[in-house]
């Protein structure tokens, strides 16, 4: 996204378009990245409910992975994930490793 200069800003910084937070990528904030381990997933969708950034992607009522453009790596999904037989379906891994 090209950054506006000070003359191009909307008056008073008012947000005139609904839902445009989606255009603002926050993925680079992450220091830990959630990885989905599909074989341990029971499709409870706790991760989808708890994610504060709507960064868990769901298709046809099934968890399909993460939106890494917006996931800030908070780890709430991994914390809430019940997994299967003690094995988590979401694990946090350090970025850049």
């Amino acid at each position: 996204m090209k950054q506006m200069n000070w003359k191009e800003l909307p008056h008073a910084g008012t947000v005139l378009k609904a839902g445009n937070a989606n255009e603002y990528k926050t993925g680079s904030w992450r220091s830990f990245k959630p990885r989905w381990v599909e074989e341990n997933c029971i499709q409870c969708l706790f991760c989808w409910i708890y994610c504060p950034d709507s960064a868990v992607t769901v298709k046809d009522e099934k968890m399909t992975g993460f939106d890494y453009d917006h996931c800030k790596g908070c780890g709430v999904c991994a914390m809430e994930c019940p997994g299967k037989k003690g094995n988590k379906a979401i694990v946090m891994e350090e970025e850049g490793k």
């Binding site: 506006m4 200069n5 000070w6 003359k7 008056h11 008073a12 910084g13 947000v15 005139l16």
Partner: protein
């Protein structure tokens, strides 16, 4: 345009401003009355009760809430006004920045009063100077007439499309707010025509076009927003001149960014805000009769500060005494610091600073005489005895 019909009245400064508010007929007026500005709300709420205005007054539980309600009402799309003093303004401080950051043209009557502690209800400029960096346009008024005129002009300045910033009209607590003076009111029709209709930019009550104000802005954009705010403030200087010229064509009363009183050939100049200017002008007249080339520069617009224009106005003076009715402990007075930024340190006049009138202490003609004589001495010798000194403080 012909000079409009006016009415000569004898009123207090507070009544004069309340009358301007009545004629401006704001949509909303949230306030938490505080001495010495209380009289404005007292008069104005009687206008509301008697059906003289369409204004909705909101009596809130604190000044912080008063300014918050001003912001809400202004963001909704209304024309908004309030009045306060001293501690009231201090409690508003957080919200003052929000009002200017949201670019809301709110009008505030600021009846200048000393800040506690020690507790004091009388007039000085420590409240107004405390809001210097809050992003509000600041106009100062010598007397009830100027307070009224500045208030009538305020919305035209604040609401201009190149400005859209909140504005505070200052006058001295008690000395002006509670003293009865003879002055001229404009007619209701003339004020209505002069001020015109208010068209809000992106009002929240335009529900067909939903929007969000006050969004989080991170380091990648915050400075761009602040730069835009500075530009709006710079534009205000031009707009103040334009609006004042139009006002002069209607009323015959001329205002500029500052008043120059007998400064054209002045070798010594005193600089002061608000009501003290009246006393100083009298004393300058007396000294002029004795051949002392003295003058007064009285800033009207304090934010944005007209550095270039004041620099030019003072460049031929030899000594300038800047008189502050507010202090910056451990620093120079706030007006002194502005003037020092406006004049050339190499080629400009010698400057020095007097602090006077804190907590409502009177500035007597004799005090002014001493300042004039000292400034004349500085002009002669080029030497300042004490850079910053307090007038009439007991040793």
């Amino acid at each position: 345009m012909a000079v409009a019909t006016t009415k000569t009245v004898a009123v207090t400064g507070n009544q004069a401003v309340a009358e301007a508010f009545r004629q401006l007929n704001p949509d909303v007026m949230p306030a938490y009355p505080i001495t010495p500005s209380t009289g404005i709300m007292e008069s104005f709420t009687s206008f509301v009760s008697n059906g003289k205005v369409d204004t909705e007054t909101i009596l809130v539980e604190s000044e912080h809430s008063a300014m918050s309600a001003c912001i809400g009402a202004s963001a909704a799309g209304g024309r908004v006004a309030t009045a306060t003093s001293a501690q009231g303004l201090a409690l508003m401080w957080e919200m003052l920045h929000i009002a200017s950051g949201y670019r809301l043209p709110i009008l505030m009557a600021l009846v200048n009063r000393a800040l506690s502690a020690p507790l004091n209800i009388h007039g000085d400029h420590s409240d107004g100077m405390g809001m210097r960096d809050c992003g509000w346009i600041q106009l100062f008024s010598e007397n009830a007439q100027e307070a009224y005129d500045n208030t009538v002009m305020a919305y035209r300045i604040a609401e201009h499309k190149d400005v859209r910033l909140p504005i505070a009209v200052n006058m001295d607590g008690f000395i002006i707010s509670h003293s009865i003076e003879s002055m001229q009111f404009m007619t209701d029709e003339d004020v209505k025509k002069f001020v015109g209709e208010y068209i809000a930019i992106d009002p929240l009550l335009d529900i067909d076009n939903p929007k969000s104000i006050g969004a989080l802005v991170l380091p990648d954009y915050y400075m761009e927003h602040k730069r835009a705010q500075h530009e709006a403030m710079l534009n205000a200087k031009r707009v103040v001149k334009e609006v004042s010229e139009e006002f002069a064509r209607i009323t015959g009363r001329k205002y500029d960014l500052f008043e120059s009183y007998r400064t054209e050939d002045a070798e010594i100049v005193l600089v002061a805000l608000n009501s003290a200017a009246g006393t100083i002008k009298d004393e300058i007249d007396r000294y002029r009769e004795q051949g002392v080339k003295a003058g007064l520069l009285k800033p009207r617009l304090f934010r944005p500060f007209p550095y270039d224009e004041i620099g030019v106005a003072l460049k031929n003076a030899r000594a300038v005494c800047i008189m502050d009715r507010a202090d910056s402990y451990g620093g120079y007075g706030p007006l002194f610091m502005e003037i020092a930024s406006a004049v050339s340190p190499q080629r400009g006049p010698v400057l020095f600073n007097k602090i006077y009138g804190l907590g409502g202490r009177d500035l007597m003609p004799l005090d002014v005489d001493k300042v004039i004589e000292e400034t004349a001495e500085v002009a002669k010798t080029g030497k300042v005895r004490i850079m910053k000194e307090y007038i009439s403080v007991r040793n």
